[in-house]
Symmetry: C2
Amino acid sequence: MLIIGERINSTRKLISEAIARRDASFIIDEALTQVAAGADYLDVNAGHMPDEQDSLKWLVEVVQGATETPICLDSASPEVIRKVIPLVDKTPIINSVTLESVRLEPLLSIVGSKKVKFIGLCQSSDKLASTREAKLELAGRLVEEGCKFNVPLDDLYIDPLVFPIATDSSSALSTLDAIREIMESFPGVHTICGMTNVSYGLPARKLVNKTFLTMAMLCKLDSVIIDPTDKEIYAAIKAGNALLNQDEFCLEFIEAYREGRLPGSR
Amino acid sequence: MLIIGERINSTRKLISEAIARRDASFIIDEALTQVAAGADYLDVNAGHMPDEQDSLKWLVEVVQGATETPICLDSASPEVIRKVIPLVDKTPIINSVTLESVRLEPLLSIVGSKKVKFIGLCQSSDKLASTREAKLELAGRLVEEGCKFNVPLDDLYIDPLVFPIATDSSSALSTLDAIREIMESFPGVHTICGMTNVSYGLPARKLVNKTFLTMAMLCKLDSVIIDPTDKEIYAAIKAGNALLNQDEFCLEFIEAYREGRLPGSR
């Protein structure tokens, strides 16, 4: 399970304040904490800053200066991503491309100049994919567009999107079915999903989020954007890996317990 | 999700002591607590008592006198079950039939005299089914034998068995695959599974058990033998139902929260 650490995001007040005062040590601490907690990539987002582009450049430089862990470059603006990407030194994941024409070509055409990976959302100009069928159709189009721009399947992380079950009782199941079918239909491609939207409007949200993650792992979801310091989500991933035969003799599970990262340990 | 409450079992020291001193109020309290917590059936087991048959008769009478909730009659001895069953007033579940000849015919032939349901274990004289293929083969034979004795599929709860992942990393996945395929192959049949064996030998066992249960629910497992007063397992079931579109608008989930039965409530 590839873990993208989500904490360095300007929608979080402490982060936007740290960015505003250019507090590198605060950001470095957030970066190192997530790496120690198991992050494989660090998402950086400055979308809530008035100077998004400069702020994002600063974030990239600060994070890269502090850790070898690669970056997931997160912006709603293809223009900002194109301007910041020359600064990124390891192969980044771009978060995110959609099938909207304003985002699709400007982002995928980066491939000509730099090795990049993409998160692709099942979202087009006229459609947020809410049914299993729509998600599969848009996933197919993402794969197709990626092909045109020479993006190998292994560099594509498809996010089928999930909507709150509080307003659409079938939404989690549509997403789970879509994850399974995307992984079967396009061998080599990755799937990714955020874990918070599904529980919007409900109490006990963490319970719903980690239960959804557990089910998604069984459907072969192989990447997540989460807070790796969240003990419950991390424990669900470790237990899921052990149950799904991705942790021989449960050695990593037992190690996580010894490190005090599972319930009841320490 | 059909819940069989597992607490009235003589392998538990407090229960065997209560049975030994014929402490009806202790047993009634265990029965009513589980019913209040959501049990649809109450398992009763006196297998660890020197006078199993008399103890089981006493348990059945005590439990039936206290609640309308039907009984799951649990004994390794077909003879004991045959002797006790005339006392049972509601349609019970017999726990359990296997493909071993000493258990198969003596138990299935009860059907002629009384309406009963069966838990059928994927276990024969020479085989404990440990692979997906073996589980499916034995499940098919259970269905076949049930047919011979006029047991409708709806009265059969197939337990594919699960073995500890600590010693066989693929065992959970074999069971999950088997559950999915049994439910697809024999429409109308039920599947059931115990939740504790999978985590044997590991730390943080409750985490592993509830993660396994969550995955099994996605595979359409529709019955469990659990302690319904266990808050974590109960919460996993409620979250699973909500995510799997078995709880419209999450009303039951929200109610469970209001009743203080989910994490963070009250």
